[in-house]
Symmetry: C2
Subunit: 272 residues, 2 copies
Amino acid sequence: MDKNAPIGIFDSGVGGMTVAREVMRQIPDERIVYFGDTARVPYGSKSSSTILRYTRQIIKFLMTKNVKAIVVACNTVSALALEEVKQEIDIPIIGVVKPGAFVACNSTRNGKIGVIGTEATIRSDVYSKFIHEINPELQTVGKACPLFVPLVEEGLWDDPITEEIARRYLSSMLEEGIDTLIMGCTHYPLIRKLLKRTVGEGVNLVNPAYETAVQMRRVLEWEDLMREEHSEKAEDQYEFYVSDFPERFQNFADSILTFQIHAPSQVNIEEY
Amino acid sequence: MDKNAPIGIFDSGVGGMTVAREVMRQIPDERIVYFGDTARVPYGSKSSSTILRYTRQIIKFLMTKNVKAIVVACNTVSALALEEVKQEIDIPIIGVVKPGAFVACNSTRNGKIGVIGTEATIRSDVYSKFIHEINPELQTVGKACPLFVPLVEEGLWDDPITEEIARRYLSSMLEEGIDTLIMGCTHYPLIRKLLKRTVGEGVNLVNPAYETAVQMRRVLEWEDLMREEHSEKAEDQYEFYVSDFPERFQNFADSILTFQIHAPSQVNIEEY
């Protein structure tokens, strides 16, 4: 395996860029090929069989880019398809759910953990399963928040409407006394401030992106796959592919990164 | 052409059922094959090339069901892909935009028409084009309302949050003095009451579904394609296909129709 090969990172759309950003920060020498399935976004309201089919197509595409490892930046895919596709490929692949569950278990003091995410992620109950594998005594309470993604995409990151929706979604888990809340969707860190106001100082917000990048680094070290060349100009080190609207993706990426990315290429993902 | 063949009706998801319902009411003897692309919904934030590709796949699928005519129940597809696919098939096909524009032109008294719809529909400016073909003196003002679809799907049909969003979306066109508002997305008739409260008694709401069904009837009569057999039991006369989650579609259909539909079949639409 070529140590200088890129890491593949993918998501149902733009949200996974919050994970890619963390990988860029923590393992700055690594090359990255990012794919965002912007033509078929969102995944969160879809069935597991459909999500599995889409995931297989994306992995097939990333393989054509000779990636040495894959980060599933999408919570929904990590929850519903990761265990199955892991059996089908022979390079390391990690998701965001296990790292998120791990951080939450280390963070809670009273043993009550809240999880918010898409319908599909919450229905899968995968966060609870991983949390209970680590510590069966912990309590979890999940809540699907389907309006957060469209509100974030509409730009209402700090708006009274988003705050009112957040209050409704979170009130019952706050009443149950959670002290830790996993942001189980890559869009949610973009409304982190508003969520913090809603849950109050006593509740710790967990963003799985940080720990996911830590784990990717460990896996590369363990498998002796760390890149040996040094990082070049950021725009040359990172390649971006999307299934629709390259311009919109570029605007979003430029708004959350500290450098301008090269124009993303459009891919007909259904052909894979 | 077999007069007893079904009419094909399709939409990006469940919303087109508000159009199908109107066709069932106005031409009750006709058989219908409905397809909802629930795996790739929503279309409203996608590019015209992607929407055109999806539309061609769906028409290919409907052709395997030997439909005698097609209703494009989706505003986004009607706006972005209809003119192109019309050239490619030899059965009658109509959309919802032209009928909606026609009704609005007949309804306005002061010549100021508002149009609300998805990002893609509003960006296409197709409603304005049709309205100006009918009467170049009319003024139109469009506004994309991307949050309405997720709010409707979340069930907030009569909620203060949806009302606040509606006020924000509609305030500037109300200030401009529109007296007619086209609901240019099949989800919007489901929040008709709330929209009516927001725009006030002086503004007429146009639902393109009614006029679309009128036009389909006229086309069938003109082409001598009206069905000659009489309607059977509703559940046997109508077939439903979706690309994801048959159960969820069935629940929605049962909630807006007066009869229970047969279980929808799932289709892998990417294979067409």
